[in-house]
């Protein structure tokens, strides 16, 4: 298995952009029988036709998303397109797309998953998922449907984002086309092993005062300590005149109280009833704490994640997704996290692809040892690809 990376910052000259990518990939020497591409880019790359042209000239499927900024070895930029190709003789790859992800209609998700999974002789090791931005936050429901119909296949992925604060231009890319409300995914099986790392808010940044989620429905946080969420947050002095001003930059730590590590949640919006729309599900009776994440915390956790990745003895490459709210904490030094990852991997010749996401899918370990698929906010997640130890390289 090989992981190839390439990038371009040429947005306007389509031919030049494609040529740069092709030259870097050197597919004639490095492409194996099976491959899939993962792409992240500044949204205008879609508008100028670069994405379409690039996907058209590649002999394999490409999925991806718009992003705030991305990085591969030697590059960290807002206005870039980065492409990573996972290729190998003894791995199987397939892609799929689901139109109009509707949390109330799980049928298409299950159908399209099964179609893609049918191309594999064995149960896929990994489902790499790219979700569309959803202001009503149906990600968790889609996650649950995928989790169920896949039989618990590990889900790793991101939610599309863009450079704006409202992410109005965020799109999912699948085989050259960009979609506002489609989900794209890639399944992997065969001689492929994956390991996952997750870093979020440092424990010491989580305030001790906890509140109880007393009413919630999926990602809708209705009541905290028996009063509407908005009112509770106002009582705590967290919301000024504009309820949304800055609230997205405050991580809320949700402890499911089931022995699994707490997850971070971002508040996205408030309903007219004073309920908070969160970037992921919040179960009733979970405990809620406020945390803080500043510039140093972002770099510290990113570096920790990178160092854990580097400890893998047989790593062939790594995919990293970091939450846009972490980027907010960097202030004007917006590329600092990407640059720190670049620096950490410098000299290790480890191919990597990192971009910013509007939400992260990464499994966590339950107390019994079982892997649980979970959606995160405010996190940096990493998927390390390697070959199985008992298999020969390909």
């Amino acid at each position: 298995m090989q992981i190839l990376t390439a990038y371009t910052t040429e947005i306007d000259n389509v031919d030049l952009a494609v040529e740069q990518i092709v030259q870097q990939l050197d597919l004639s020497h490095r492409l194996a029988s099976n491959a899939v591409g993962i792409l992240s880019c500044y949204s205008e790359f879609i508008d100028t036709g670069v994405v379409q042209a690039l996907c058209a000239c590649m002999p394999f499927d490409i999925i991806g998303a718009t992003t705030l900024a991305s990085a591969v070895p030697g590059l960290a930029d807002h206005l870039a397109l980065t492409l990573t190709v996972i290729t190998g003789e003894d791995i199987r790859c397939s892609t799929g797309r689901i139109d109009s992800v509707d949390r109330h209609n799980p049928g298409p998700i299950a159908h399209n998953y099964r179609l893609a999974a049918a191309q594999h002789e064995e149960k896929p090791t990994l489902a790499l998922v790219i979700m569309p931005i959803d202001r009503v936050s149906g990600w968790n429901q889609a996650l649950d449907v995928l989790d169920t119909c896949s039989g618990g296949v590990t889900l790793f992925g991101m939610v599309a984002a863009d450079h704006t604060s409202t992410h109005l231009d965020a799109r999912v890319i699948s085989c050259g086309e960009a979609y506002v409300d489609s989900m794209a995914f890639a399944l992997f099986s065969g001689n492929i092993e994956t390991a996952y790392h997750l870093a979020c808010v440092p424990t010491e940044n989580i305030r001790q005062e906890q509140a109880i989620v007393t009413a919630a429905e999926g990602s809708l946080l209705k009541e905290i300590n028996d009063i509407p969420a908005l009112q509770h947050l106002q009582l705590r002095g967290l919301l000024r005149d504009n309820p949304l001003e800055g609230i997205k930059a405050i991580p809320f730590i949700v402890d499911y109280n089931d022995g699994t590590p707490p997850v971070a949640r971002t508040l996205i919006d408030f309903t007219s009833e004073g309920y908070a729309v969160c970037g992921g599900s919040i179960p009733v009776n979970a405990t809620l704490s406020i945390a803080s994440l500043d510039y140093d915390d972002v770099l510290k956790t990113a570096t920790q994640a990178a160092l854990r990745v580097l400890k893998h003895p047989r790593a062939r490459g790594v995919l990293l997704f970091s939450c846009v709210s972490r980027n907010m904490a960097l202030g004007f030094d917006s590329l600092a996290e990407l640059e720190s990852i670049n620096e950490a991997f410098l000299g290790h010749r480890l191919p990597f692809h990192m971009c910013y996401s509007g939400g992260e899918f990464c499994p966590v370990r339950a107390p019994c040892g079982r892997s649980l698929n979970r959606f995160h906010n405010d996190a940096i997640i990493a998927c390390v690809f390697s070959e199985r130890e008992d298999a020969k390289g390909g």
Partner: protein, 565 residues
């Protein structure tokens, strides 16, 4: 067709447009970064404000807590100096402000109201807290304000650990338990007073009832008409009901107050157990219940213990079996077990006891509730608690195994060392006569005088009687007596005062043997009576054997004619 110059201009224009586009793109990106940074700054500001507000609210409430907490809470730093305290401590110490003690060691501050020993004990507890990192509790009295108001405190010292587990200081919580302690003591005193009153009243009832019983006995020995015999039987039946009840109440009161002292001696164990057989055989037969006694052949003939109290225990068990068994059998078994232990079991085929009721069976206070007192079965329920307490006092145990509806087995285990056969108390009473002896009996109750006269008369002793201590002194001043039997509890001048005055008088009887007649002739009471001038003590009701022993011991030998039994 455009000219080369136009083409060049067009190309330059395209390049400029492209450059413009790129600059606009970068400007847009910068604007996004600015927007995100502003949002992030706003978030930080909100969070800081929230944290400050929460902190200040917590600090305010913490200050309110410390100001208003009724308990004394002291915080010491690692060097034993005052770091903080609640206002209640300052109030007790009559200090205007915390500043006066801030930074001072507790040795300095406590020295104001405590001595070195008190401080040393506190020191020891403090040291234990610091070394073990565990809570220590001590109880101390202190008059912090030096106002004469000594309070009793339960002091809890707890370590204050930092996040590395190191002791950063110690918290001392002083809980004023004075009122609780005083209330408890008052309750105990009230309970003891109640028990004493209960006992006193019971004793007041006991002697007259004994006298009635004795008189009935003597009356029954005379020729009576059938109606008179019937009446006497009725009176004796009532006495038989009343006496055990009064005895149990007296026993219980003494046991409850810890005043009951065992009177252990060698006694005929088999004879004692056999007396129970004699006593209960008819009663069980009347009820149609088979009653058997089984004594192991290895049961020692003589044992060392308090015979009367042991019998009282077994009487309670047999009464209980008699009451609760309607058919079947009751068995009394006795056998030795191990070294010096006797096991006596009473087994019945009665109604049995529910398992959940067994723990309450021997509880004494369950029987003294108002409801229990008012019930028709009051007093019968005192038997088991008294038996239990007596067993405990003797160092033994009593337990029960029962199946509801089927029956019960009560097992008593008592440490009763076997005695040599020669020590048996079942010795034949000697017959004596002392017609020349002059005995004065002093008692305020006529019935008791009659009983004494009757008993002494059986020894051919002529006795005179006095109804009060004063009357006795008058008589003793006028004529000589060989022996005085003096009741202790008499109105106006009691027996103790009369005896003391007799000893101080110059008359002919200042040294006459005076025997105290007392219903409670226990060891402590005996020594007090002897100290008052009595020569000996006889327990009421007077046992014939005890009377014989007394007469043999205290009458002039030349006036006593003893004949072998």
């Amino acid at each position: 067709m455009s000219t080369p110059k136009e083409q060049a201009l067009a190309a330059e224009l395209d390049a400029l447009r492209l450059e413009n586009k790129r600059l606009a793109r970068k400007a847009s990106m910068m604007q996004s970064i600015i927007d995100r940074s502003r949002a992030s700054a706003a978030a930080k500001s909100s969070l800081s404000a929230s944290i400050m507000a929460e902190k200040s609210r917590q600090e305010r409430f913490m200050a309110l807590l410390l100001e208003n907490c009724p308990e004394i809470m002291l915080l010491f730093d690692w060097s034993r100096r005052f770091a903080y305290c609640t206002r209640s401590f300052l109030t007790r110490m009559r200090l205007r402000s915390f500043g006066l003690i801030y930074g001072r060691t507790y040795h300095d501050v406590f020295a104001h109201f405590a001595d070195d020993d008190w401080i040393a004990r506190f020191d020891a507890a403090y040291h234990a807290v610091v070394t073990t990192k565990e809570i220590q509790c001590i109880s101390e009295d202190a008059d912090m304000g030096l106002s004469g108001n000594v309070r009793t405190y339960s002091i809890h010292l707890a370590p204050m650990l930092d996040n590395t587990g190191q002791v950063e200081g110690v918290l001392a919580l002083f809980h004023d338990q004075t009122d609780v302690t005083r209330a408890k003591e008052a309750a105990i005193d009230a309970n003891n007073a109640k028990s004493d009153l209960f006992e006193a009243i019971s004793r007041k009832i006991y002697r007259p009832v004994l006298a009635v019983d004795d008189c009935c006995g003597r009356l029954a020995d005379t020729a009576l008409t059938p109606e008179q015999a019937d009446s006497v039987a009725g009176i004796r039946g009532a006495v038989e009901t009343l006496l055990p009840l009064v005895t149990k109440v007296i026993d219980f009161s003494q046991l409850d107050a810890g005043k009951l002292t065992l009177e252990a001696d060698y006694f005929d164990l088999v004879a004692a157990l056999s007396s129970l057989r004699d006593r209960y055989a008819l009663r069980f037969r009347r009820k149609g219940i088979a009653f058997t006694c089984s004594f192991a052949p290895t049961l020692p003939a003589v044992a060392f213990g308090d015979r009367e109290r042991i019998l009282r225990i077994l009487v309670s068990l047999l009464d209980n079996a008699l009451q609760h068994t309607q058919a079947g059998h009751v068995t009394l078994r006795a056998a030795p077990q191990g070294s010096g232990e006797i096991v006596i079991a009473v087994e019945d085929t009665g109604s049995g006891i529910r398992e959940e009721d067994i723990p309450f069976l021997f509880l004494p206070y369950e029987q003294l509730s108002a409801a229990a007192v008012s019930s028709s079965s009051f007093g019968e329920g005192l038997g088991l608690p008294v038996a239990y307490l007596l067993c405990q006092l003797m160092g033994g145990t009593i337990d029960v195994h029962s199946a509801f509806g089927k029956g019960s087995v009560f097992t008593v285990r008592l440490p009763l060392p076997a005695g040599p056969a020669t020590e048996s108390a079942a010795q034949a009473l000697p017959t004596l006569a002392a017609p020349d002896a002059r005995v004065l009996v002093v008692d305020d109750i006529d019935a008791n005088l009659l009983v004494a006269d009757s008993m002494l008369g059986s020894f051919a002793v002529t006795c005179q009687s006095a109804h009060s201590g004063a009357q006795a002194l008058e008589m003793l001043a006028k004529e000589a007596f060989d022996l005085v039997l003096m009741d202790c509890a008499m109105p106006d001048m009691d027996g103790m005062e009369a005896t003391q005055r007799l000893r101080q008088s110059p008359g002919p009887n200042s040294g006459v043997p005076v025997i105290a007649l007392h219903a409670d002739a226990q060891a402590e009471r005996r020594s007090i009576l002897l100290a008052c001038g009595f020569n000996d003590v006889l327990s009421k009701p007077i046992d014939r054997a005890a009377m014989v022993e007394c007469l043999l011991r205290w009458l002039p030998p030349e006036k006593v004619r003893q004949e072998p039994s």
